[in-house]
């Protein structure tokens, strides 16, 4: 009797958490569409969206209205089931990945002891969605984009895991709350100073993992039209779009938790610190998108296999030695 009460309660909690996370993802996409276009505009010294509403603030609303009103066009000879499954598969795992993130000291949807493993394990699903989207849409650009997405995603996942592992070694826990807690309130004790190399490697890989410029080869529009989502229109495209921004937000939250002290701040610990830090990382991602040109594919893989992977192994090794000695 008692037990079932508890499980019902936790189930309600989980449902509420999922709804909140969906709301966060949608709100994030709306804010980021506007922020990204404005940022791009200012960096290129033009105003960005300007005409819809004051300072173009209603532009994302107009954009989403347009997407909603678009015809869902399905090209001939697609693999029907996979074609419709792929956008959903891109969207749903991200939802799950937000659950173990400690937004605040008490604001964690799913307190699991091995949150790191959960995130790293399910992060690969987005890759699968890209692959299925490219494969099922029976389009040469799609399949090329999918191939690139897989090669890139698989390659960059390794240094990313190794970089995060160095922090896990240091903290001695896989619980994200513990990792945030262990860093303390003082900014100079946060992990980006203790683990600068891991922080740098993580910053590079997070851009590659989210398929953002300068590593946006799976959807490089100058070569592949739109890469794996070439054949998607209307809501299918919107879901990919949403999950791209959600993925960005997720890696930013992970970055904030692992390297920037999570919900800890100089004053007043709380979820606002997580959000401030995560959005600072988002701003950084947007900034580099509009600064650097896209790398070539061999360069992309060379950066990973020749630099990031050895460096991350070295970093892990040094961390292990130091931990053993101290």
């Amino acid at each position: 009797m008692e037990l079932s009460k508890i499980s019902v309660l936790s189930l309600v909690e989980l449902v509420v958490a999922c709804l909140l996370v969906i709301a966060l993802m949608v709100a994030n996409a709306i804010v980021m569409v506007y922020a990204e276009r404005k940022g791009a505009g200012f960096i290129q010294r033009r105003p960005g969206p300007y005409e819809v509403g004051p300072w173009g603030i209603l532009q994302p609303v107009a954009d989403s209205m347009k997407l909603l009103a678009k015809q869902l066009f399905v090209p001939a000879n697609v693999d029907f089931l996979l074609y419709f499954l792929a956008p959903v598969l891109a969207f749903l795992p991200v939802l799950l990945l937000f659950l173990p993130i400690p937004f605040g000291p008490y604001l964690t949807a799913l307190k699991v002891p091995d949150g790191v493993v959960l995130i790293l394990a399910f992060a690969g699903f987005g890759l699968l969605a890209n692959l299925l989207a490219g494969y099922s849409s029976n389009n040469k650009y799609g399949i090329l984009g999918a191939g690139r997405a897989v090669a890139q995603g698989v390659a960059y996942e390794i240094p990313m895991i190794l970089a995060l592992l160095a922090v896990v070694f240091q903290t001695g826990s896989m619980n994200l709350s513990d990792i945030a807690e262990a860093q303390g309130s003082a900014p100079w004790r946060w992990n980006f100073l203790c683990q600068p190399l891991a922080f740098f490697i993580y910053l590079v890989t997070l851009v590659a993992e989210t398929n953002r410029a300068p590593f946006d080869l799976p959807e490089g529009e100058s070569e592949l039209t739109a890469g794996f989502h070439t054949e998607y229109s209307g809501m299918g495209f919107a879901l990919f779009f949403l999950s791209e921004y959600a993925n960005m937000l997720l890696v930013s939250f992970v970055c904030a938790t692992f390297f920037l002290g999570g919900y800890k701040g100089p004053i007043l610990d709380g979820f606002w610190w997580t959000f401030i830090k995560a959005y600072a990382v988002m701003a950084f991602i947007v900034w580099i998108r509009w600064t650097f040109p896209r790398v070539r594919f061999d360069q992309l893989l060379n950066i990973n296999w020749k630099w990031l992977l050895p460096l991350s192994i070295l970093n892990l090794w040094i961390t292990a030695v130091i931990i053993k000695l101290v």
Binding site: F42, I43, Q44, R45, R46, W287, W290, F292
Partner: protein, 189 residues
């Protein structure tokens, strides 16, 4: 040794990335370079290097006359066949000088080839129209109007009143009139 130089190269590359980020970061906070057209127009000094549609240069001796001698070199040399020059019966000067801006690629071949340097690029930026016919410009008429407007705005027509977009529109006269005078839509509307 080779490895060391590769590492050094990559470090230098990383530094260049930082420099790039500094530049875009600085640009982010600097004032905008673009002009919001209907509410705002380009400053005249920024128009000086703008190569707009052709116009006829003023005569060397008589400023109110064209220098054109109707030799047809420009009309022949134009890749787009934009130019129609009709010679007058009495002298060398043309009676008609029509220029179809819709066909012009602003290549400058006509300006190069003209023996009397009778043609030049104007700085007319706000040339908008809703009909094709309105963009067939009568350059002799345009010259007349510039002469009537004032003695010598050296660098092309209308530079003094660059602040007013209406003043830069093709005026509803000459060939445009036949097209219903839709050449100058109200920029605010």
């Amino acid at each position: 040794m080779k490895m060391l130089s590769a590492i050094w190269d990559n470090l230098k590359g990383l530094y260049s990335l930082l420099v790039g980020m500094c530049i875009t970061g600085r640009y982010f906070f600097q004032p905008l370079k673009t002009v919001h057209f209907p509410r705002d127009v380009v400053e005249p000094e920024n128009l000086a290097s703008y190569r707009g549609p052709l116009e006829l240069a003023r005569g060397k001796t008589d400023e109110s006359k064209t220098r054109c001698i109707s030799c047809q070199m420009c009309a022949k040399g134009c890749p787009g066949n934009c130019i129609t020059v009709v010679k007058s019966k009495e002298g060398k000067n043309p009676v008609t000088w029509l220029y179809d801006f819709t066909l012009c690629c602003l290549c400058g071949a006509c300006v190069e080839v003209c023996p009397t340097a009778a043609i030049q690029f104007s700085h007319r930026l706000y040339l908008v129209s809703t009909s094709r016919e309105a963009l067939v410009l009568d350059l002799l008429k345009d010259l007349e109007e510039r002469v009537a407007a004032g003695p010598l705005p050296a660098a092309g027509a209308g530079t003094p009143d660059a602040k007013k977009p209406e003043a830069r529109m093709p005026d509803a006269g000459g060939p445009q009139k036949a097209a219903g005078g839709s050449a100058a839509p109200d920029p605010e509307g």
